[in-house]
Each structure stands twice: as C-alpha cells, then as structure tokens.
C-alpha cells in the first residue's frame, strides 16, 4: 500500500510539472492556433537561469531563502523575456502565412535555442543545487512523500489559482478570452491583439520557468536537452485534455503523470517514454479533440 501511495504522489508531482508547461502550450494554441514547439526550450532556459543564478548566489554565500526567491524571480523574468522575444522574431512575421510555416519556424527556434545553450554553457549534466530543505514536520512520512513533492504540489495549486484569477477577472484575462474566441471581433471591439498575444507568451513562459525550477530541484540535475522531452510530454498532456482548454491541460497532465508513474512502477521503467508517446498517438487517433476539448467542424 505504501508503494501505491508513493507512486500516486510521484505521479501527482510529475503531473503538476507537466501541467505548468502544458498551460503554456494550451494558452498559446487557444489564442493563435499555433503549437509553440519552442515552449520546451523556454522551460529549459528557465531551469538554466535558475541554476546559474542559484549557483552564483550560493558561491557568494547568500542564505538559502534569498537564493530561492532571487533564482525563482530570475527564472521567471528571463523565461518570459525569451517567450516574448521568440514570438516577435519567429511567429509574428508569419501570422498570415500558411499553417506549416510557423510550425517549421517553431521547430527551428527550438533547435536553435538548444544549441545556443549547449554552445554557451555545456553539454554535460549539471548538478542543480538543493533549494528545498527537508521539512522536519514531514519526517514521519518522508519515505513516501518527500518535501520537494509537497512544495511542488503546493506551488502548482497556488499558481493555478492565480492563473484562474487572472483569466477570469482581470482585464487582460478577459481580452485573452475574447481573442481566443474570435480574433477579428476582438480587434473590432478595441482589443490590441498583439499585446494580448505577447501577454499570453509572457504568462505561459513564466509558468514554464516555475516548472523548470521545480523539476530541476526535484531531479537534481539539468542539461540543455531536458526541454525536448518535457515539451513533448507536456504537449501530450495538453492534447489529452483538449488543446486550448485550461482545465483540460491540468486534467490531462495529471492523467499523464499518474499513467507514467504507475506504468514505470508496476511494468517497466525502460519504456517510460514509450508509454507517453503511445498515449499521445492513441488519443489523437481516437479522440483528437481531447477529453475536455470541443470538436470543431471546419466550415467552408
């Protein structure tokens, strides 16, 4: 039973991380109908920025709490800036191009960013500093649920609540919903669509950076390639839940996280990624609109 609970929590932790990344995919898709292939790379850059800042601060002897806060803010700021810039360079000029063009551009961006980090930093796995200490009150159940898992789950819940608040009640959130429903109409009622798209990229990238920071301190090492797999899996989760739907992305991520966790726990860990990819292929074949997505008919 302990093993089952351990797997359950490990699945929930994974799922929360996927959710943080998947939200970026699903928000961007909801607004401009583009699979932002470079999103995984933004998550990787968030993790790298956090790593660099945290290591520098810890070398200069800052206290742990300051390191966590500064590294977290730095990761979010830089990732958002990257997201904003990438949109301006690679997607904005292609807004009226055929469908395949922005996708190819996004793939190019993803390869470019991976190699940029590889060349500027290193190809080795780097040890990520421990940012989350073992809480004393977690002692009795530490063998089932680690302190890091707890922090990840709590942070994810807080971020989700904040995001829901932004989208439901703020002006920019309303503008986002309007833009995703009908871009032309949104322009007509005076919404600056370019600003809404930039805001979407910034928020999505910020969420990915939080995910990057959390997963890096959970796993304890990073490398330039982590964005690829995480990106694909988060995309799987977004599609599973129904791409474009925010609750769908969270639901899909939790299902994917639990599936992976139980599959590796009870079947075999060699094929962990195969499970995720097979799940993706199966969903797209049988229910391309996802669990909570709406099937749209193409009108001529």
């Amino acid at each position: 039973m302990d093993y089952f609970i351990e797997l359950l929590f490990s699945g929930l932790t994974r799922g929360s991380i996927y959710a943080l990344i998947a939200l970026g995919y699903t928000m961007v898709y909801g607004i401009i109908g583009l699979i932002n292939f470079a999103h995984g790379e933004i998550y990787m850059i968030g993790a790298f920025t956090a790593f660099i800042v945290a290591t520098v601060l810890s070398i200069y002897g800052f206290p742990l709490i300051a390191i966590v806060i500064i590294a977290g803010i730095a990761a979010v700021v830089w990732s958002s800036s990257y997201g904003y810039t990438i949109e301006k360079i690679a997607y904005k000029p292609l807004r009226h191009a055929p469908r395949l063009s922005p996708l190819i551009s996004a793939i190019g961006m993803s390869i470019f960013l991976q190699n940029y980090v590889l060349l500027a930093q290193t190809s080795d796995f780097l040890p990520f500093p421990r940012l989350i200490p073992d809480f004393p009150f977690m002692e009795p159940i530490a063998h089932i649920v680690g302190s890091t898992d707890l922090v990840i789950l709590v942070t994810t819940v807080i971020v989700m609540v904040a995001l829901t608040f932004i989208i439901k009640f703020t002006l920019i959130g309303k503008a986002m919903r309007a833009t995703s429903q009908d871009r032309t109409m949104a322009t007509l009622v005076g919404i600056n669509v370019n600003r809404v798209i930039s805001a979407t990229f910034i928020i999505g990238s910020g969420l990915a950076a939080i995910g990057g920071l959390l997963i890096a301190s959970h796993i304890g090492q990073i490398n330039f390639y982590i964005g690829f797999l995480a990106g694909i899996k988060a995309f799987t989760a977004a599609v599973l839940g129904g791409i474009g739907s925010i609750p769908g992305a969270v639901l899909g991520s939790l299902i994917l996280g639990l599936t992976e966790s139980f599959a590796t726990g009870y079947v075999s860990s060699d094929y962990e990624d195969v499970f995720a990819f097979s799940l993706l292929v199966l969903i797209l074949i049988f229910k391309p609109s996802g669990l909570l997505g709406k099937a749209t008919n193409q009108k001529v």
């Binding site: 520098v56 500027a120 195969v274």
Partner: protein, 407 residues
C-alpha cells in the same frame, strides 16, 4: 530621414538582447569547483552582433516588401537557376558539367572526399523522399528518420541472421519501411497538419526507444556491427574501391530517384498531392480520394527512406539507435525547406549545401545545428519558398488578341 530613430531602435534592441542572453552567455559557473567565470566579452559581441543583424533584417524585410509591390505589376522574375533550366542549350551544358564532375569525382579526390560526397548524396535522396511528403503533399512529417531506421535495421538484422546481401535487402528494406509508413499513415492521416507533425514525431521517438531498449531484438544501444558492404556479382573489393563503388551506386540511386520523383510530380497523383496541399476540402470536392492519396505519399516517402536506410547500414557497416534521433529528421527537413519545398533542384542544392558546408568548414561544424535552427526560422520569415522555388506548371494560352493567362 529617420536615420537617428533607426539607430536608436537598433541600440535599444541590442541592449535588450544583451539583457536576454546575459545569464547564459556571460556567466559560467562550475558547481563542483564552486567558481564563477564572468565572460564580459560575450556581452560585447552580443551587443555589436545584434546591432548589425538588426539592420540586416530591416534591409531584407524592406527588400521583401518591395518585391511584393513590384510583383503585382510585373511578371514573376525568374531566379538565375531557373533561367538556365529553361533554356535548352544552357540546361544541357549544365547537366553535362554536373555529369562529368560526378563521374570523375572519385578519380581526382581522396577516398575521404568520396565518402563525404556519398553521404551528401544520401541526404539528397532522403530529402527527395521527404519532399514527396512535405513538399508535394503538404504533410509535415517529423518522424521521417523512423523509416530510415527501419530500413537500416532491416538490412542489419537480415544480414546478421540470414546473411542476406545488399541487393536482396535493398527492395525488402524499402518495402518494409513503406509498410510501416502505411501502418502509421492509416490512423493518423485524418489529423490536421500540426497534430500530424507531433504524432509522427512521437512515432519516430517510439521506434528509436524500442530499438534502444529491446536488447534481444536489436542489440540495444551498442548496435549491430560488421554489416556487409554492397557487393557486385560476388567480386571482392578492397576498402578503397568499395568506397568508390558505393559512390557510383549512390549517384545511380540519386538519378533513379530524381527520375521517379520528377515523373511522379507531373503525374495525376502528383497533381492530386499538390491540390491536397493547397486545399483539402476543394480537393475532395473534385473527387480526389484524400485518404488514398495521402497514404501513397506517406508510403512512397517512407520507401525512399527505407532504401537509404539499407544504403546507410551498408556504407557504414554499423548501425545503432543513436544515428536515428530527432535531429536527423530536423536536418532532412532543413534540406527540404532550405532548397524549396516541392522543388527537386532545390532539394539537390539544399542537401549539398547543408551536408558539405559543415564538412569543409570544420571550424564551423560545432555551430552546425545552431545554423540549422536559424536557417529554418530565417527561411520561413524571409523566403518561405526556399532558395530555388518550385515553379508551377502553367498553361499559357496564346492567341493573337489576348496576351497570356497564367495559373
């Protein structure tokens, strides 16, 4: 006029990029030795570099705008290579020169050069295969390398267990890859373009992961070695002459591929692909079986990839899953996009540029993947039709009174 404003904008943008690249470019930490290296010079390079790139980009964007305006009034200007290809005499001279170079290439240059050229020619065929899927039929396939892997492992395994030779496996490898293409194609071809891209990417990864993990079947990450080289009526070759033989074989395969793809492009099927790429619904309304047409495109693309897989295994005599990563698919896609989607000459040039350039500019080979990524983005932004774009066959209706009707 507005120069000062432009300069100011350029400075602001370069400052933004210095900020953006600051943590990754400037700081380098060693977490084990606990040292920090501040590389301030990089920030300076970044500032100067982005400042100039900004003006370069502005220049190109303006050129693109101008071209758009002039195109409306004038007829489409043909690129240099197209002018050569349209003139019969010039075209024959060009073909003659290329043929002479191709035939005498291994005589004048070392085995190493020949080997490099063989690799480049393999990418030409791979590019042409993917060109059927992406360029003609408009299906973005990001898992093309899976079929390449299927071909390579078919030869490797058949050679290992049954001792089958290169020539026997060449068609088998192609057919098995094509079968995989159909197997994957059946369920996923209903999907829209971008979903298809992700599913094919997932499929490519599944194949690689299976090859990596299913030890008894594929010998896992260590791969299969000692695969026989291509034979020629049982004659034993030395390594040197075998390389030359492989080269000529590859030239032959390229010619066959170009011939087949060219014929396909102008056939009923080829026109159906292009129609499907442009508008699926209109295409169905015209009575084209969407599913069948897509499946044929998919399986034909896979067929060429399978054949090249067999060739790859025979050339290197060793296969392992590390040769078939997503980056390989990305390289082949870059070739097609750089050359010009749907254009055979374009793919030829694209493959030669992308494979030979990093080979001869060794110092730059480190930046190869960085350049591939940048190429994909820049091509899409500045020149989506590729270096040598495909010219649509147009029927020109000539009468004394009316001038011409294009498209």
């Amino acid at each position: 006029m507005g120069l000062l404003k432009e300069l100011k904008k350029g400075v602001l943008i370069s400052l933004w990029f210095v900020f953006l690249t600051f943590p990754v470019m400037v700081i380098k930490v060693d977490p084990i030795a606990r040292t920090v290296v501040w590389r301030w010079a990089n920030a300076l390079y970044m500032a100067v570099g982005t400042f100039f790139i900004y003006f370069l980009v502005q220049f190109f964007l303006r050129k693109k705008e101008n071209r758009k305006e002039t195109n409306d009034s004038k007829e489409q200007t043909l690129s240099f290579i197209h002018r050569i290809l349209q003139d019969r005499l010039q075209r024959n001279i060009l073909i003659g020169v290329v043929a002479v170079v191709a035939v005498f290439f291994p005589q004048f240059l070392s085995a190493y050069q020949t080997n490099v050229m063989t690799t480049a020619l393999m990418y030409v065929v791979l590019g042409l295969g993917l060109n059927i899927v992406v360029g003609l039929a408009g299906l973005l396939d990001l898992g093309f390398v899976a079929f390449y892997a299927v071909g390579a492992y078919t030869y490797a395994l058949l050679n290992l267990h049954f001792g089958l030779g290169f020539w026997a496996v060449l068609p088998i490898g192609g057919l098995i890859a094509a079968t995989f293409g159909i197997l994957l194609g059946f369920p996923v071809l209903r999907l829209r373009g971008d979903y298809l891209a992700i599913v094919t990417l997932g499929f490519g990864e599944i194949i690689r992961l299976i090859l990596e993990n299913w030890g008894q079947f594929s010998k896992g990450p260590s791969g299969i070695s000692n695969i026989s080289r291509p034979g020629f009526f049982g004659i034993e070759f030395s390594l040197q002459s075998s390389i030359i033989y492989t080269y000529y074989l590859m030239v032959l395969l390229v010619l066959v591929t170009i011939f087949v793809v060219n014929r396909l492009q102008d056939s009923r099927l080829g026109r159906a692909w292009i129609a499907l790429r442009e508008d699926e619904i209109a295409c169905q309304a015209m009575g084209i079986d969407k599913r069948k047409t897509k499946l044929v495109a998919f399986s034909l693309g896979a067929f060429w990839a399978g054949i090249m897989g067999v060739m790859f295994a025979a050339k290197t005599t060793f296969v392992n899953p590390a040769s078939f990563t997503f980056l390989e698919s990305a390289i082949i896609l870059s070739i097609v996009v750089l050359g010009g989607m749907g254009s055979i000459v374009g793919v030829l040039f694209g493959a030669l540029i992308l494979i030979l350039m990093p080979e001869y500019l060794r110092a730059l080979s480190q930046y190869r993947m960085l350049a591939f990524g940048a190429i994909l983005v820049c091509m899409m932004v500045f020149r989506p039709q590729g270096l040598i774009s495909n010219i649509r066959r147009t029927y020109t209706f000539k009468k004394k009174t009316t001038s011409s009707l294009c498209r």
